[in-house]
């Protein structure tokens, strides 16, 4: 018997978002260049999908339970189904109410907070995507964490759980002084809120993990077919969300207008070089070296 079967299970929640499918062949635009929402398919957002895969990792490796929640219109139940198919989730929650409409990130975070608190189990880790693809700014995650009073770990590219000490060790991709890809390792007691980095990819290193993975995937297909059995739909009253903080009235910001960023004049001076000319290559290398030396971290 492995440790994962003896200890108290880890309970995870994932917050996900419905997004338009921007891939060619599925997306439609209106003649004025705006998105034609009616004609465009909706899918589980790609960042949400990564968050779901991070929770699935905890299920395979630590036997964690997964609850997935989203705020959205009734049709958003289809993305909960998609998420369950990916993760063999144990519970699905849809927070749906007319008065949620027009919510900005803060008001969304309020609903998610209330929703997570209403979940059947006390949650040890909440996962969220890095951000959404359709005009969100990556604030919902941190704001929800703040409202829940959880430690927030952003840009997580890898994590392990210690079931005995009930702590998480996470690797975060951070940017220091303009240099990307510095990996910071942090340890935190549960509960934590993890915003998963787009580059995250779960790794399963043993045969038994891989077999569990397959087993859960298969079970997920069955569960997702009957996903309604796992689904609870809650309105504002049911999650006891404070009307002051939700929907349009709870939103300190509104999106007034989205404009394309005007193309700036190119400031770089591009020069075409001839790859077969050794002199020119040498010049490129010299320039690169110069540029690098000015960027060095002090």
């Amino acid at each position: 018997m492995t440790l994962k079967n003896q200890m108290d299970p880890i309970n995870t929640a994932v917050i996900v978002k419905l997004e338009p499918d921007f891939s060619e062949g599925n997306v439609s635009y209106n003649p004025d260049g705006t998105l034609n929402r009616a004609e465009t398919k909706n899918i589980l957002g790609p960042h949400s999908a990564i968050a779901v895969s991070a929770a699935f990792y905890a299920k395979v490796k630590y036997g964690a339970k997964i609850a997935i929640g989203t705020m959205g219109p009734p049709m958003a139940e289809s993305i909960l189904q998609q998420a369950q198919l990916m993760s063999n989730a144990d519970e699905l929650y849809l927070y749906s109410d007319r008065i949620f409409a027009g919510a900005d990130t803060l008001a969304t975070a309020e609903v998610l907070k209330a929703g997570i608190q209403k979940m059947q189990k006390k949650i040890d880790i909440v996962f969220s995507g890095h951000r959404a693809s359709d005009g969100e700014t990556g604030q919902t995650g941190p704001q929800t964490a703040w409202k829940l009073g959880m430690t927030f770990l952003g840009h997580v590219i890898d994590y392990e759980i210690n079931l005995e000490s009930r702590t998480v060790r996470a690797k975060r991709l951070v940017r220091i002084q303009g240099v990307y890809d510095v990996v910071e390792e942090v340890e935190s007691p549960l509960p934590v809120f993890i915003a998963i980095d787009p580059s995250y990819k779960p790794k399963f290193n043993t045969v038994s993990q891989r077999l569990d993975y397959e087993k859960y995937q298969k079970e997920a297909v069955k569960r997702a077919q009957d996903f309604k059995q796992y689904l609870k739909v809650f309105n504002a009253a049911q999650i006891e969300a404070d009307p002051k903080f939700i929907g349009i009235s709870g939103s300190p910001t509104i999106v007034y207008k989205v404009e394309r960023i005007p193309k700036g004049k190119a400031t770089r001076q591009a020069k075409v070089i001839d790859g077969s000319n050794k002199e020119q290559i040498r010049e490129v290398v010299t320039r690169l070296l110069q540029a690098l030396s000015t960027m060095a971290i002090k």
Partner: protein, 622 residues
């Protein structure tokens, strides 16, 4: 270290059958497959046979997967089997359905990707009961034996210990090479197969090939379409695709190299085949380059979406099952309504976006693989320590007449190997003597091994009989003996008798010659053939376009290393690699592994490995 009873290496049809059989016997087994999912690396022609041999018993697909006939996603049961001799635009056809039916319960066309996934589902369900299962995306790198323990190393996972191994890792078996269980196959022992999948709606196939909804037809080609190589072409009907390919002796290709895709292109350009594959194809009109960028993009996306919708609806319209489904689900009131919607969509496409409809053909996948000729290269000793070799890995492909049998043979081998391993587990004895030699005996008993050793008189008679009506005087006298054999009853039975006295080894150089594969068919077609006309010239994709359509998961390191860059063999690979991975530099031949489809053609003079788990080619049809 984790421990399991049995490891199966390779999740093609042979490995999967081994897993299923072991589970049937209540044994624990894990299967490693390097492809990112089952089926990603497997290709075939292919017709899967279920055999009823005159003597002995074969383990057929429906014996192992009891629900095969009801549930498996095979394509069509082949009911017509015709050989076409070609000479330019003339074709002379010979019905060989009797040869197809010979000793067979049935033969059905299959696509390996779909079929192997179904096999995997069945096998995995059974395997999980005993703590086993399938692990994909994992490439076995080495096997070591340490104080009586057998340890498997992979590129991806921690090591595991097992008691016995079934190597089902295909024609380019690394397990065989690294253990020294056998040499690499030489070019005289293998064929190179190249194939394209052509899309064609279900009911159009029925009409075009004059077959019922549950029937299928197979067409074989010999004559000038072979470009003077020993081998031939094939075209099999699938449910809503066609498999069109060419299979040639590698040594014949090495003698006068032709690009593999040229061999397929030659088939496509044959007027008879052009007509068989043709379809209605939408052609986009040029987008106005002066329009604003956003507008160009909007139109491009709209056109893509429209073509996709039209193509999907059309596929449903021409499929009885899909039509019924759409009506049953209430999406349409009647089949006619679907038809009406389809033509209205088509109108919109041309009026709104200027899309034109032309006659052409739709190619969706290009693939290639080598196939072992078991008459020449089957492993005499198909085991090493506690490893048993099955299927292509053991070199057990059967080529008799135009029929290729590999899938069914691999399944039969796998069952025998699983039986031997189960017996060893019961006695906890994995010595070569108790396991390997026993397996070897089981394999010797297989009717397939018999087929690989002895020529079947009755089968040969079918071929000679099929051409007995050909007036012999029309063929040049230089082929006199062969023609006489074909037409004279006494000589025919004499020939069959002599054949067995000579044995395969001596007979093959006489049968498998340019005369039989190319010259005689060409003459037959020239003299007796019907002239064929093509109503259009197919737009054949370039090799670059074909590669661009394939799905790869590129690895940054090459899985193949050239050993002697200046050898004649390697120089020929510049032409013979089906995806043009080789080219000449100052120092000799170098490889650019990114487009490699892992066919194995270049294996003889390279350090050849499969890519690491999940990497490399990822076929969608197979």
């Amino acid at each position: 270290m984790e421990k399991y009873d049995v490891a199966i290496i390779g999740g093609g049809s042979a490995g999967l059958a081994a897993l299923k059989q072991l589970s049937r016997l209540g044994k624990q087994a894990i299967l490693f497959e390097s492809g990112n999912k089952i089926g990603a690396k497997n290709i075939s022609g292919g017709i899967l046979y279920s055999k009823k041999p005159k003597k002995g018993k074969t383990y057929n697909v429906e014996d192992i997967y009891e629900n095969f006939l009801q549930d498996a996603p095979f394509e069509r049961k082949i009911t017509k089997y015709i050989l076409h001799a070609t000479a330019k635009d003339k074709v002379f056809s010979i019905d060989l359905t009797a040869a197809h039916k010979y000793e067979a319960n049935f033969g059905c066309s299959v696509l390996m990707n779909k079929l192997n996934q179904w096999f995997a589902q069945q096998a995995e369900e059974a395997a999980q009961k005993y703590g086993g299962g399938i692990v994909t995306g994992v490439h076995v790198r080495a096997i070591r034996w340490e104080d009586g323990h057998t340890i498997i190393q992979t590129d991806e996972l921690e090591e595991v210990e097992v008691k016995a191994i079934i190597a089902a890792d295909g024609v380019n078996s690394e397990i065989a090479y690294m253990t020294g269980a056998r040499q690499k196959f030489s070019p005289s022992e293998i064929y190179q197969g190249v194939k394209v999948i052509v899309k064609l709606p279900d009911e159009i196939i029925n009409q075009r090939f004059s077959i019922g909804p549950d029937e299928g037809s197979a067409h074989l080609f010999a004559g000038d379409v072979t470009l003077n190589h020993i081998g031939g072409g094939f075209l099999y009907t699938n449910r809503d695709t066609l498999s069109l390919g060419a299979v040639y002796h590698l040594d014949s290709l090495l003698e006068t190299p032709n690009e593999p895709y040229e061999l397929v292109n030659t088939l496509l350009k044959n007027p008879m085949i052009s007509e068989l594959v043709k379809d209605e194809v939408p052609v986009r009109c040029e987008i106005d380059r002066d329009a604003p960028k956003e507008e160009q993009m909007r139109i491009r996306f709209a056109v893509t979406k429209m073509i996709k919708t039209w193509a999907e609806l059309r596929d449903s319209y021409y499929s009885k099952k899909e039509k019924e489904r759409l009506v049953k689900e209430g999406k349409y009131g009647s089949p006619e309504e679907i038809g009406a919607q389809l033509s209205s969509l088509r109108d919109q496409m041309s009026t709104k976006y200027g899309i034109k409809f032309e006659t052409d053909y739709v190619e969706v996948e290009y693939s290639a693989k080598t196939i072992p000729d078991g008459k020449r290269c089957r492993m005499e000793k198909p085991y090493f320590k506690n490893i048993l070799f099955v299927g292509d890995a053991a070199g057990r492909g059967i080529f008799v007449g135009p029929r290729i049998e590999g899938i069914n043979v691999g399944i039969d081998d796998a069952v025998r190997a699983a039986n031997a391993v189960a017996r060893a587990l019961d006695k906890d004895n994995f010595t070569e003597k108790y396991l390997g030699e026993y397996y070897s005996r089981l394999i010797e008993d297989s009717p397939y091994t018999h087929d690989l050793k002895v020529i079947d008189k009755d089968y040969l008679e079918i071929f000679l009989g099929a051409v007995k009506e050909v007036p012999k005087e029309i063929i040049s006298s230089k082929y006199g003996l062969v023609i006489k054999m074909m037409s004279s009853g006494t000589l025919r039975s004499f020939a069959v008798g002599v054949a067995n006295i000579l044995g395969y080894e001596n007979l093959l150089p006489i049968i498998e010659t340019v005369d039989t594969y190319v010259k005689i068919p060409t003459e037959l077609a020239e003299r007796l053939g019907k002239r064929m006309y093509a109503s259009y010239a197919p737009t054949i994709p370039s090799i670059a376009q074909r590669i661009a359509k394939l799905k790869f998961n590129d690895d940054n390191i090459s899985h193949i290393k050239v050993l002697t860059p200046t050898s004649e063999f390697m120089k020929k690979m510049i032409t013979l690699c089906p995806t043009r991975c080789y080219f000449m530099e100052k120092e000799g031949v170098i490889i650019q592994h990114e487009g490699c489809i892992e066919c194995g053609t270049c294996s003889e003079e390279t350090d050849w490995k499969h890519p690491r788990g999940e990497k490399g080619i990822n076929y969608q049809y197979g």
